[in-house]
Amino acid sequence: MTARLGEAIALRVGASLVSLVFVVVAVFFITSALPGDVAEALLGQAATPDAIAALRHSLRLDQPVLLRFAGWAGGLLRGDFGTSLVSHQPVLSMVHDRLLHSLLLAGITTLFAVPAALLLGTLSAIFRNTVFDRTISLLTLCVVSVPEFLIATLAVLVFAVELHLLPALASISDIHSIGSFLAAFSMPVATLGCVIVGQMARMTRAVMVNVLSSSWVEMAMLKGVSPAFIILRHVLPNVIAPLFNVIALSLSYLLGGVVIVESVFHYPGIASLMVDSVASRDIPLVQTCAIIFCAAYLLLTTLADIVALCSSQERTRT
């Protein structure tokens, strides 16, 4: 049984690696196909044809695409992600801090958003088709549909500009205490929370409704088990796998999809690094970022699938 599980997990991981390879190759050629290159981007308004040609040559951009891909992929296999064409620093060292910042923001958001979403979703499922459920549904939809830059800006206007309660920027360098940490992160986290809680709560509700209508939940009620206890003891172990999937999908958004929150709060995360690197056509950096996003997404969904595999392994009659 465990051997079969191991095999299934290995298959799943292998499948994810296939996706990753696909993305690595696709991203390289797509970014190579982008009009313009780093030489033009660097010189900007000051570009003259001979200056561009010389710079291009010095950056080895005049080599054929396949040759460049071979060189880059070879480096990748050795664990070398290359050097930024703009700053001439190793890409990994540039990504390192930004990734940590992003993970921090994503982590804190998760810490608040996941319990909130699970709670909302579960409550909606318990009180399904009641006024409470409809209200939550309406509110979450509203929050999802309003553009996040509006939410973020409104929050800043109210809490930073009018009330002077919180700083308008979430500058990492200004954090020296727990207090300043909370102050700096509260608004970005709240904004991101708004974006993902709605979606997560809706999916949680769907999962919960499904489980709550199962006959063993009814049985537990008929045994005299209180609703809170039913949720905690009976329902939770059964919804871990689907909920993990819900969470995984939301989390992968938290890494790559938060450009706007990063820019509004001046938070140095990896999403803005990626947009920046696209703008400056810093291909090695773009590729590394893409690989990170892709790997994070695949890691999370694979993890979710493995959790599902393990728990379904436990359940299915074999």
């Binding site: 399904r128 209508s213 199962s214 006959s215 063993w216 009814e218 049985m219 537990a220 009620m221 008929l222 045994k223 005299g224 088990v225 209180s226 206890f229 003891r233 009976h234 172990p237 059964n238 728990s311 436990e314 359940r315 299915t316 009659r317 074999t318």
Partner: protein, 600 residues
């Protein structure tokens, strides 16, 4: 309404003018149960008899103060063991449920939490009501497991639900209900989903528990034979109203209401197959089919076999029956014939032509002439397609006339009114769905129809009507049927030939007439004996005959007879060599080491 003698103690359960209402989807509120009243005296077992939709389960649940999502208790009074159930607050209800009243659900496989070990769930009622400490509860549970004659009572609690069989789960659920020593236990069709051979074990366990624990019970069922064994009194329900109430004996032997009479009549076994098929060439000839999974051994056989060299001829115009318990391979056989289950050895001939294993390799004609009617009409009918859309597609696909007239004709064939044509499956009753399911197969103008447990999910009366229909169609269309079932009554009433399947082996093959006379394979005999009868002393007799036995089970020998572990007449040779097939004087073919004399 029973009038209690003035000296009688007050009833433990008193239901007065109970009404339940519910929504269907977002539709308007409609009554489910209206004005139901009955009493249950202490120590008494009351049967709630009714078909699906009669509201019997809703009433049973209402006794615990519970109504399902979308339903509510709209009126009446409910008193259970001194509690006014309808006026308890949430806290009181939690203390009441599982403590004063316990519930045993129909499908134990679904009623256990798949993610928790069984012991955790069994002792939960004792723990949440703070009756006893955990250690004591575990001991109590083990004692109950023993009472329920469960195998390895000390360790079975550590298993997860999927690691136990349905019969075991049903008994474990009874243990879970009894652990708090409740005053009232509700049995909601606890054996409906079980094989007859398992059912008898569960019934035995229940009977024993009733004697030992002395609770008051409500037994919900549609099976009159079970009512005869378990209940003292019975209430017959139809469409949420009480039809008749009386002692079990009176209800079963002298029903006064037409509905009850119809129920009793439908439960009586009788033959429907009045025109035995003439001897003819086989329409379908199954030869030595071997189906397995899990890769192949060096000898080229599957590691695990489901069907082991099964041979089966189906004659033109006859009804061939296959019987066996769940897991015996009867559905696999049907699927193999239908071309959706690959086989690793053996062959099939249909209409004189070889039949490919893969449906995609069969000729269109073969596909058309061989139709499958699966067990669950809910799954077979596309919920998004109306009846006529379903039928029209089949007709157009096979190039038949697909006019409204043709559809009306087919519906007429299965005795459905043409008005149903525009309905969706969800708007049909269970019997109607099964008829549409049949119609879908008939629309292809088949020669042979494979029926996989088509009456299993239906109420007795409805199932009887479907069987009648089958026989009428057989006569009208000179169809052949291959009828798979675990219901011996149904088998007897419609089949010309019968094959008894056990663990992938065909242990007996005989004509229906031969089935009435000895000798028989020991398993066939066990099947025969397990079918509940309407006699009230049937269960007692069986109990008296061989006492309460634990599940006899064990690994089947690698070579030799697969029934050996359970066989009451097994001998040493049975474990070593495969049983020979011999023909009994009655004409039946039997695969057993014992001789005809020994088995008679």
């Amino acid at each position: 309404m029973s009038l209690l003698p003035p000296t009688a103690p007050p009833p433990l359960i008193s239901v007065q003018n109970l009404s339940l209402t519910g929504h269907r989807g977002r539709g308007p509120e409609t009554p489910i149960v209206t004005n139901v009243s009955f009493n249950v005296a202490e120590g008494e077992m009351l049967a709630l008899i009714g078909e699906s939709g009669s509201g019997k389960t809703s009433i049973a649940l209402a006794l615990t103060g519970y109504a399902r999502q979308g339903c509510r208790i709209s009126g009446g009074t409910l008193r259970v063991a001194g509690h006014d159930v309808l006026h308890m607050n949430a806290r009181e209800l939690h203390a009441f449920r599982g403590m004063t009243i316990a519930y045993i659900a129909q499908n134990a496989g679904a009623a256990f939490n798949p993610a928790l070990p069984l012991m955790e769930q069994v002792i939960e009622p004792a723990l949440v009501h703070h009756i006893m400490p955990r250690k004591e509860a575990v001991e109590q549970a083990i004692a109950l497991f023993e009472l329920m004659a469960l195998p390895s009572p000390h360790t079975i609690g550590a298993r997860y639900p999927h690691e136990c069989s349905g019969g075991q789960l049903q008994r474990i659920m009874a243990a879970m209900a009894l652990i708090t020593e409740p005053e009232v236990v509700i049995f909601d069709e606890p054996t409906t989903a079980l094989d007859v051979t398992t059912q008898i074990e569960v019934l035995e366990a229940f009977r024993l528990a009733m004697r030992q624990c002395g609770f008051t019970g409500v037994y919900v069922t549609h099976d009159l034979a079970i009512v005869a064994q378990m209940a003292d009194r019975a209430v017959v329900l139809k469409n949420g109203t009480v039809q008749e109430e009386g002692s079990t004996g009176q209800i079963l032997t002298a029903p006064t209401q037409p509905y009850t009479q119809a129920l009793v009549a439908a439960s009586e076994p009788h033959t429907r197959n009045h025109d035995p098929a003439p001897a003819s060439a086989p329409l379908l000839d199954v030869r030595d089919i071997l189906v397995g999974y899990g890769g192949t051994t060096p000898e080229g056989r599957p590691v695990h076999t489901i069907l082991n060299q099964v041979s089966l001829p189906v004659l033109a115009g006859e009804t061939m029956g296959i019987i066996g318990e769940s897991g015996c391979g009867k559905s696999t056989l049907i699927r193999a014939i239908a071309g959706i289950q690959p086989w690793s050895a053996g062959s099939m001939m249909f209409e004189g032509q070889p039949l490919a294993a893969d449906i995609n390799l069969r000729s269109p004609q073969q596909r058309q002439h061989l139709q499958l009617v699966a067990q669950n009409a809910d799954l077979v009918l596309n919920p998004a397609m109306t009846v006529q859309a379903t039928l029209r597609r089949v007709l157009t696909f096979y190039g038949e006339d697909a006019s409204d007239n043709a559809i009306r004709h087919i519906l007429d064939m299965v005795r459905l009114p043409a008005a149903l044509a525009s309905r969706l499956p969800t708007q049909l009753s269970g019997g109607q769905k099964q008829r549409v399911n049949l119609a879908r197969a008939l629309a292809a103008r088949p020669r042979l129809v494979l029926c996989d447990e088509i009456t299993a999910a239906l109420d007795t009366v409805v199932a009887a009507a479907i069987l009648d229909l089958m026989m009428e169609l057989k006569r009208e269309l000179s169809l052949s049927w291959l009828f798979v079932t675990h219901d011996l009554h149904a088998l007897r009433s419609v089949c010309d030939h019968v094959a008894v399947l056990y663990a992938g082996h065909c242990v007996e093959f005989s004509t229906i007439t031969a089935l009435q006379t000895a000798p028989h394979h020991p398993y066939a005999r066990k099947l025969e004996a397990s079918v509940p009868e309407m006699r009230p002393d049937w269960l007692d007799n069986i109990l008296r005959q061989h006492g309460l036995k634990q599940d006899k089970s064990g690994p089947a020998p690698a070579s030799g007879c697969s029934y050996m572990p359970r066989c009451p007449v097994a001998a040493a040779t049975c474990a070593l060599t495969p049983p020979p097939v011999w023909q009994a004087p009655s004409g039946a073919f039997i695969a057993c080491h014992r001789t005809a004399q020994e088995l008679s």
